[in-house]
Symmetry: C2
Subunit: 138 residues, 2 copies
Amino acid sequence: METAVPKISDFPTGEENTAYAQYFSGKSWLAPLTANKDLNVPINNVTFEPGSRNNWHSHTGGQILIAVGGAGYYQERGKKARRIESGDIVEIAPNVEHWHGAAPDSWFSHIAITANPQTNENQWLEPVSDEQYAEAVK
Amino acid sequence: METAVPKISDFPTGEENTAYAQYFSGKSWLAPLTANKDLNVPINNVTFEPGSRNNWHSHTGGQILIAVGGAGYYQERGKKARRIESGDIVEIAPNVEHWHGAAPDSWFSHIAITANPQTNENQWLEPVSDEQYAEAVK
């Protein structure tokens, strides 16, 4: 059964993100927004269904998130989660363990920019448990 | 007299962009959105008053624009201008001469990402004349 994705931003939603599903709890959608590799700024719009989030992970090159629709959360290991909505920016430093995803009761879209793509590698860790998620968003 | 900037996106407007005024026809505002230099992805929100546009220019590293509010135009030398609105992305290849700015009857905001900032240099050229602008937006 296909999930109907509501329109929550002016950016495209793309296709269901099956390639990364193994690193997510819940469904997500991915829309590549750029193509020119000379620019070294890969940009995708990522959309999460309510309650969906990615596993704890880190990027050797870092990452930038630009929230563009709905409501979500961002949390770094050992810190309080931060609620993010359209217009909010998250700068994720290299090698910082973190997760991001939708609020329990809202779809969420953020533009994701891969920093230092020439050398970046992602390290995927364990899922954000239901208990960790409930604590983060309460 | 200060110009009142209307709210056309969820992103901050920042201060009037006096440092670059010499390269603009009309007023603009600049809001830095990122600070972590390790990420090598400098991002600013640029807001143009109606009719305002920057000079013809190019970037040795290229640039990416993400339209977030209002309506504007982007034109590369020798090509037809492209109208851009919230949700549109413009990938500007290195060394391509171009300009961008607001529509004659609309404020416009785009997020601007400096590509390859480690080596990027901007080359500023002549203003977009009233005749060139009128032709571009008609």
